[in-house]
């Protein structure tokens, strides 16, 4: 084998190895999903047939849950009494889902005020700190929990700036400043539905729409209806 042929062979082998490594990296990245957390049956605790999903939204996920991005805004879900960093939720098909969101973040505001109206809940309302409402001031929106394919749009008002005892990192405690939002919606057919926040709440990114807004596991995820 000539020297040139050996060089070409070496380059070819090198390119193949690098290509395979890149392929493994991309495949690993594309298939890494947060764990799915199932909603809890509420038959025994709330007196109605359905399931309970308990979430919290935080201004910073903190080093405990996300060492690489501790300052990213995020959702968390309650799983068997512990707050879990996941945005993939499992709920039963054709049933009522009761959701409670403990909202610890300040307001950012909606780019489209239209999304400040509650849509898709039972009764067309949500309760914010115990008060039933049909819409919020768009400028006071901190996040949304929206499942467009199910027609579900829930605006979440922010914690006032002047509130004392603000939560710094997740998991936040109910003793810290927060808003409590509850609502109930009915799931439809089985399937995987994406949900997302429509508020540009990613601090430090262009128009607030990068980072945690573009990464599965923070401000968006899936609702697995099974």
């Amino acid at each position: 084998m000539s020297v040139l042929a050996k060089k070409l062979l070496g380059i070819g082998v090198g390119v193949v190895i690098v290509g395979v490594l890149i392929g493994f990296y991309v495949a690993s990245w594309a298939t890494s999903f947060p764990q799915s957390v199932a909603a809890v049956s509420t038959r025994k605790v709330a007196g109605f047939s359905g399931t309970q999903l308990t979430l919290q939204t935080v201004a910073a996920i903190g080093p405990k849950y996300s060492p690489n991005n501790p300052d990213w805004v995020s959702y968390l879900v309650l799983d068997h009494g512990k707050w879990v960093h996941s945005t993939v939720f499992t709920v039963p098909a054709n049933s009522l889902v009761h959701v409670t969101v403990y909202q610890y973040d300040g307001d950012t505001g909606l780019r489209n005020p239209f999304l400040a109206q509650v849509q898709g809940t039972i009764g067309g309302t949500v309760t914010v700190d115990g008060k039933a409402i049909t819409s919020i001031n768009p400028e006071e929106a901190s996040h949304t929990f929206a499942v467009p394919q199910l027609g579900l749009f829930i605006p979440l008002p922010g914690v006032p700036e002047e509130a004392k005892n603000q939560c710094e990192f997740a998991p936040c405690l109910t003793s810290e400043a927060h808003r409590t939002i509850t609502f109930t919606f009915r799931t439809g057919a089985k399937g995987r539905y994406r949900w997302q926040c429509f508020v540009p709440c990613a601090a430090g990114w262009i128009d607030g729409n990068g980072g945690p807004m573009q990464t599965l596991g923070y401000m968006d995820g899936f609702l697995d209806v099974v």
């Binding site: 049909t134 601090a203 807004m213």
Partner: protein, 282 residues
Amino acid sequence: MAAEHHAPPEPNHARRFGLIWLVASLIATPIVVLVVGPIMPPGNGSEQASGHVTDNTVLIGMATPVLLLVLLYLIYAIVFFRQPKGAALEGPAIHGDVRIQTTWIVVTSLLVLSLAAYGTVRLLEDGAGSGGGPSPVAVPSGYKLPVQVIGQEWMFTYRYPTYGGVETPHLVLPVNQMVELHVTSLDVIHSFWAYQLGVKADANPNTDNVVFVKPTKLQTFEVRCAELCGIWHGYMFDHGQVVRPAAFKAWIAEQQRRFAPVQKDLPSYSTKYIPEPTRRGG
């Protein structure tokens, strides 16, 4: 005295191949136009979509003889210019042929230029379902129902300025009514694609992109974003509806009632928006 070997005379390949191609084209082109043409995308959901079907039929009608020329020549060459087994002959020297070269250049140029002229004429009729920018050159005559398409990460919403600027999460249009869509975006570049209506227009921030469409049958049509716009681009889809005028009136009245709570918070209707907030933007 050596025996002379006379090779059998070569047939006139040019004439023979030309005849084969002509017959094949005369048979295949009408079949393609009449059989494949009617099932060409995107269907006949609107005047513009029907125009696309016509355009695609013209294209495949013109492409068929060209495709046959290439394929048939390939087959002809394989059959008739095959080197005999065991022979190791040099191919004959290739010389240029001014007539063939000139014919090829003239015919292909005419084909391309005529298609360009045809496309320009079609665009000037009504925009052919594509965005014409804020001041489109082609504007259909008569009343046009204005509807705004607002792209945002990651869904489209719609405003109806002649109905108090009500905003809705779904697109519903009356049948047989020319519609003037004003396509814009609140954040990044999206592309509004109503497939069965033959409409595709970029949704650019701070830009009004006008496109005309006249739905011609009752239907459910697909709406998708056709511009890679972020993590949920693939989920940025919905279904719109074309309904009878009376059903449209009832639907829009219901939307006005349903979205009354948020109406006061919407900005005044405008062909484009520069929304705040970007408080957390870097």
